[in-house]
Symmetry: C2
Subunit: 343 residues, 2 copies
DNA sequence: ATCAATTTCCAAAACGCTTTGGATGAACGC
DNA sequence: GCGTTCATCCAAAGCGTTTTGGAAATTGAT
């Protein structure tokens, strides 16, 4: 059993009040006494009981992440692990706990209410926002500080978010391909009910439009971002009567699928056909080296996690500090997977 | 602000005691009163404050996961997300919270002591056990219920764990390749300081031995399991004077790297060269379909997460229930990546 | 030396719940 | 009608902190 404040105070011949103040850096305690208390605390391996502390202060010292697990397709977002790692770093550094709730996506709203009502967290981070996401209004009404990883088109009320510039990112990637002479560019997107995927498509369409190219629905796909999805998409599209000469992929995993699909048909990336992908810099799928495998729009999701956590903690500390937003630009890095269109 | 027990009691003209007992199913409360209380609680959206509750009961109602982030190689284990999803499901169902600590791997011990001293969790799950893992002795001494995801060779004291039969798994895979006439089989392993990797190597060696084949150090590699690692390993090994005719990979991601490395050289899986991989059934890397891409030793890490959580909750509920262990066998599923050795 | 201002400490209340140890009637047996 | 047993409720203590509102001792100014 761990030592309590009262015990520590007794062993020092002091009152709990003084010990508490000594350890929490209040001014009204003698410097000598403070030293004495600090030493005793360290010696006894004293750590304040989190629950008691937060009961007394009213702050949970914890941030919640609700991860919805789709009841139908059952996919766990691989990006999630790296984001969490980044955020967790910041929480730990600031004495916050991270609590995770894995819930079926149809009872996500309930999870937030529950976390709020039980006072388990001081704020939450929302993952995977969709177009017109109802969670935003709900959380605003609840009065629980929150921050979106991503944005949600169609919601007019202000809210805090951190996002990458998906639209610009995919616009630039598309332009880049156009400049290489590509006229038929396929978009292998994530589910377009997800806000990021929608924005990426918008960027893609915008660039096509500016290049005077008409979008072809046959070349646009959306689905859960698995490797086989990329594979099938590549194989099917390349066998169209008028096949694409370039692919735009929404994630490294999809890009690997496309790569496999194409090389199974004997096509070589860069020379025969081009691929640009978004790269979240997942640690186990590094796309670096002198010449990266894929030309990519690159942005570290782990860094996004760090920043998101910092922003939310700021929001929790000063509830008035208004909606905080940050738009991260991605880098368009040149890899070996792109080249001029074959004529 | 959420409603408290006291307020609820006042609004009902009852004492907090009675309301508490009514909601917690104690017998000494009138059936009619209980109904009345339950309705009022639901109407007021009452949820007991977690911190107050656990202060009073002494139980945290939370399980901790400490995920060490290597200060050097900075890899976030992709298997982690799926495991967590499985475990989280069980926690949620049983009213437990999941708390995550992301810590530099050199201060992991401190994290456990801290969680314990602050009374933040009722138990912890250990990830990524190494050979002779010191954390086991430490936690046993702390008196905090814990369970390993994996095992740790060299530790004699009993402890609770859930693991897959890595040794048997890789032994069977190796035997399978031997039966196809393969004599030179490469092992592209994870870091062998990790217990699972060590066991896999043992299984591999055992099978080679029984087949009367001498292991060749040139054919055995270990590293962090990234895609480029698989790629490089495949390319380098295949260009040896006496190259392998089959590869054994430690994860799907590595297997994809190998696949890319080989097909870049124009080799076709199954006919030209064989690959068997371990498959954790990560949701975004499904290896299924009529004929799976890879022949694989398959075991769902998500299911392991579920079972691990159940076991730990059991351990927390009945501390005496002694070390709980479960060894999950893997399935050896036939895919398109294996065939008879080319002569 | 006196009074006010500082320092330095403490007793007690509060946070929101559970739980112990009764209290109050009603029902029951005779 | 009386004592006993149940059924049903409650007051108060306690969990381990923080924080409010002093109190005592020391210092400083005059």
């Amino acid at each position: 059993m761990s030592v309590t404040l009262k015990q520590l105070a007794a062993s020092l011949g002091l009152s709990p009040t003084t010990v508490s103040r000594a350890l929490n850096g209040f001014p009204e305690v003698n410097a000598a006494t403070r030293k004495r208390v600090e030493h005793a605390a360290a010696a006894a391996n004293y750590h304040p009981n989190t629950r008691a502390k937060s009961l007394a202060t009213g702050r949970a010292q914890a941030i919640g992440h609700v991860i919805p697990v789709s009841t139908s397709h059952e996919i766990v977002n691989p990006v999630f692990a790296d984001f969490i790692a980044g955020a967790g770093e910041i929480y730990a550094r600031n004495g916050y706990e991270m609590i995770l709730r894995v819930v079926p996506d149809d009872s996500e709203a309930h999870a937030y209410r529950d976390l709020m009502a039980r006072g388990s967290v001081d704020g939450v981070i929302l993952h995977g926002p969709r177009t017109n996401d109802a969670r935003v209004a709900m959380l605003a009404e609840l009065g629980l500080p929150f921050l979106l990883h991503g944005r949600t088109s169609g919601v007019s009320a202000p809210y805090s978010w951190i996002d990458i510039n998906n639209q610009r990112s995919f616009k630039r990637a598309t332009e880049f391909l156009c400049n290489f002479g590509h006229r038929r560019i396929a978009l292998i997107n994530g589910l377009e009910e997800m806000d990021f995927a929608r924005r990426r498509r918008n960027g893609y369409l915008e660039a096509l439009d500016e290049a005077g190219l008409a979008p072809d629905p046959m070349l646009m796909r959306q689905a859960e971002m698995t490797e086989p999805y990329g594979y099938r998409a590549a194989q099917e599209l390349i066998q169209l009567p008028d096949p694409p000469t370039a692919f735009l992929a929404s994630s490294m995993i999809v890009a690997y699928g496309i790569l496999r699909g194409l090389s199974d048909l004997g096509l070589k990336l860069g020379s025969d056909i081009s691929v640009v992908t978004h790269d979240d810099e997942l640690s186990y799928l590094p796309n670096d080296g002198d010449v990266p495998l894929f030309t990519a729009t690159r942005s570290s999701v782990r860094e996004a996690g760090r920043r998101a956590a910092s922003m939310l903690l700021q929001l929790v500390a000063e509830p008035g500090s208004g909606p905080l937003t940050e738009l991260m630009e991605t880098a368009l890095v040149l890899g070996a997977s792109t080249g001029p269109a074959r004529v």
